[in-house]
């Protein structure tokens, strides 16, 4: 696929891509990159602002903030990305099955999706974490269920539209089987909009993960997450504002970057859509 690369060639897409590459690299290489252990306490040096030894300062236990920010990226990104991946996969299966088989299955899926759709994601996620219990796994499942309706709905709509296309009729009139039509024609064509939507949802999922972490429902201490770090820093806004500012900035910039890249991706894909229609 060339569209993701073309998206990088747009100015905002390129900048966003650069930041995302940086964050992803930091998350992947956290054990190598970070100068300290994420749980190494140094109480005499607590509440220190930025210095040569601690580039972003230290928190209330004297732990290095840069280290915790990098490890936090690992938690936040992996939870958000995994949750969305699960959500996209299950949503595509459900949506495709509903659109393909129709009948009672379609009605059942539609009713459940519409019901879930009427609640905000945060509420669904909170209820689920309350049932499953706090922690990384609980957050991951909660987030993936919260976004399931979105991808089911989108895939279903895509497949329903595509089913009426001439090239599906053409494939059928040349003897293509149901499986061939579903897996070789319908799903690949439905993939692009679903992936763009997944990209944008990942940004939302990072915020949702941070929110759950802020409430103390995400990754449990001492494992750092951006939301958890902000939660700890919220009590110390006047004493040591950097403790909440840096993870807050990390969340904000990352989410903005994902949205900008997503927009660039939509633009890059749109160009192709237009070319596709012209003779």
């Amino acid at each position: 696929m060339i569209a993701p690369v073309r998206a990088l060639q747009r100015p905002q897409g390129g900048l966003a891509g650069l930041w995302l590459a940086l964050v992803i690299a930091a998350a992947l290489l956290a054990p190598i990159l970070s100068p300290y252990a994420f749980d190494a306490q140094d109480l005499p040096n607590a509440y220190r602002p930025a210095s040569a030894a601690h580039w972003l300062g230290t928190d209330e236990f004297g732990r290095d903030l840069l280290t915790r920010l990098v490890w936090g990226a690992r938690t936040s990104l992996s939870v958000a990305a995994t949750a969305i991946a699960i959500s996209v996969f299950c949503g595509m299966v459900l949506g495709a099955a509903a659109a393909w088989f129709g009948g009672w299955l379609d009605r059942a899926v539609t009713v459940v999706v519409d019901l879930t759709w009427s609640f905000p994601e945060i509420l669904i996620a909170l209820i689920l974490v309350a049932i499953i219990g706090p922690g990384t796994l609980g957050t991951m499942i909660a987030i993936s269920v919260a976004y399931l309706a979105q991808f089911t709905r989108l895939t279903r709509a895509q497949i329903l539209t595509l089913k009426g296309e001439t090239f599906i009729e053409a494939a059928r009139s040349l003897g293509a089987s149901n499986g061939h039509i579903l897996f070789r024609h319908l799903l690949p064509n439905a993939l692009a909009p679903v992936l763009v939507s997944a990209m944008l949802a990942t940004g939302d999922a990072i915020i949702l993960e941070a929110t759950l972490g802020f409430f103390g429902l995400g990754a449990q201490p001492p494992v750092p997450s951006w939301g958890g770090m902000m939660s700890a820093g919220s009590a110390l806004v006047f004493k040591a504002p950097w403790i909440i500012i840096y993870p807050g900035l990390a969340v904000a910039i990352t989410v903005v970057a994902i949205n900008l890249y997503g927009d660039a991706l939509i633009a890059a894909l749109d160009i192709r859509q237009k070319l596709r229609r012209s003779p």
């Binding site: 053409a170 059928r172 040349l174 003897g175 070789r184 690949p188 993939l191 070319l275």
Partner: protein, 319 residues
């Protein structure tokens, strides 16, 4: 000899609306048959019936039977019908702009037909694809095979669709208005290529069109549909020389001729009646200049006329 495709008094309904009424049509091996009629006359529906694809659009055969190579399609299993499509019957769709999957390369889309129906391995399928594209006079077939559908012109796409129809080595090609979506200049070219390929390979072709000019150019026989009924059927030479049905002669009158005086090109007044409000008797009578009281009440039965059939109470009266 059994006909390759034989529709015997086939009637088709969608829901409660009867759309085709006792259509009989025969296509022999090596023959090019034109199926002509205005929009809404049931041409495409006849093609769907011939391929066993009616359930897809909610239609069903309510009378008569469709035989392919002597076998009754209604008695086949779904799998048998599916294998028939592509392997024995190739289909060329109406609109080449949307007939190709936008996210697959051209080559893959043609390869898959011969892989599926002839069981060829990928490499052999590609050789066959390139061979087909070259026969369809596509310059630089190798790079076209690597192209995406949006990179090709309409005429090119229609050739690819024809290549897909030919890839399974079928005995019969059904082409549903293969040139309506194309530029006039390209239309003639595509018809010529299609006709030549079919003749060279000894295939049969059912060419659905609303253009009598195209019929005169390539077909052996022609069947004229009007409002879901067969008006006239017979050899092209006979029908063009002396059309027996007033609708046929009106259609032929719609072909522009060289040296025609200004304003002498005729149209047919009125429009095809709706399937839900068919006139009684002969369905053409409201638009017919020969209509009598008989036409308004009694449905004309098909009668043989030379080497063809015609369904008209006043057949050939004013030739």
């Amino acid at each position: 000899m059994t006909a390759l495709l034989d529709l015997a008094s086939v009637s088709v309904s969608i829901g409660s609306a009867p759309l085709l009424d006792s259509i009989s049509l025969r296509v022999d091996r090596g023959q090019i048959v034109g199926l002509v009629g205005e929009s809404g006359s049931g041409k495409s529906l006849t093609a769907m019936a011939a391929m066993g694809l009616l359930p897809l659009i909610g239609g069903r055969v309510t009378g008569g039977n469709v035989r392919f190579d002597g076998q009754d399609m209604a008695l086949m299993t779904d799998t048998q019908r599916r294998v028939l499509r592509g392997r024995r019957i190739g289909f060329v769709t109406q609109n080449p702009m949307t007939a190709l999957d936008p996210v697959q390369r051209i080559g893959e889309q043609v390869d898959v037909v011969s892989r599926l129906h002839l069981g060829l391995p990928q490499a052999a399928a590609r050789v066959r694809t390139l061979d087909l594209l070259t026969q369809l006079r596509i310059p630089d077939a190798a790079s076209v095979a690597e192209a995406w559908p949006h990179q090709l012109s309409g005429g090119m796409k229609q050739r690819i669709v024809i290549a897909m129809a030919l890839a399974g080595e079928p005995d019969l090609i059904i082409a549903d208005e293969p040139t309506t979506a194309l530029d006039v200049t390209v239309q003639a070219q595509i018809i010529q290529i299609l006709g030549a390929l079919v003749r060279d390979r000894g295939l049969a072709l059912l060419l659905i069109t609303h253009d009598m000019g195209v019929v005169a150019q390539v077909c052996d026989r022609v069947a004229v549909l009007y409002a879901g009924r067969l008006a006239e059927e017979g050899p092209v030479s006979d029908i063009f020389a002396a059309p027996a049905h007033p609708y046929t002669s009106a259609l032929i009158g719609c072909i522009p001729q060289d040296g025609m005086a200004q304003g002498s090109l005729r149209g047919i007044p009125g429009a095809v009646p709706s399937a839900l409000a068919m006139p009684p008797g002969c369905r053409f009578h409201p638009r017919c200049e020969r209509a009598s009281d008989l036409c308004r009440t009694v449905v004309p039965a098909p009668e043989s006329c030379g080497q063809g059939t015609v369904a008209c109470h006043h057949a050939g009266v004013i030739a």
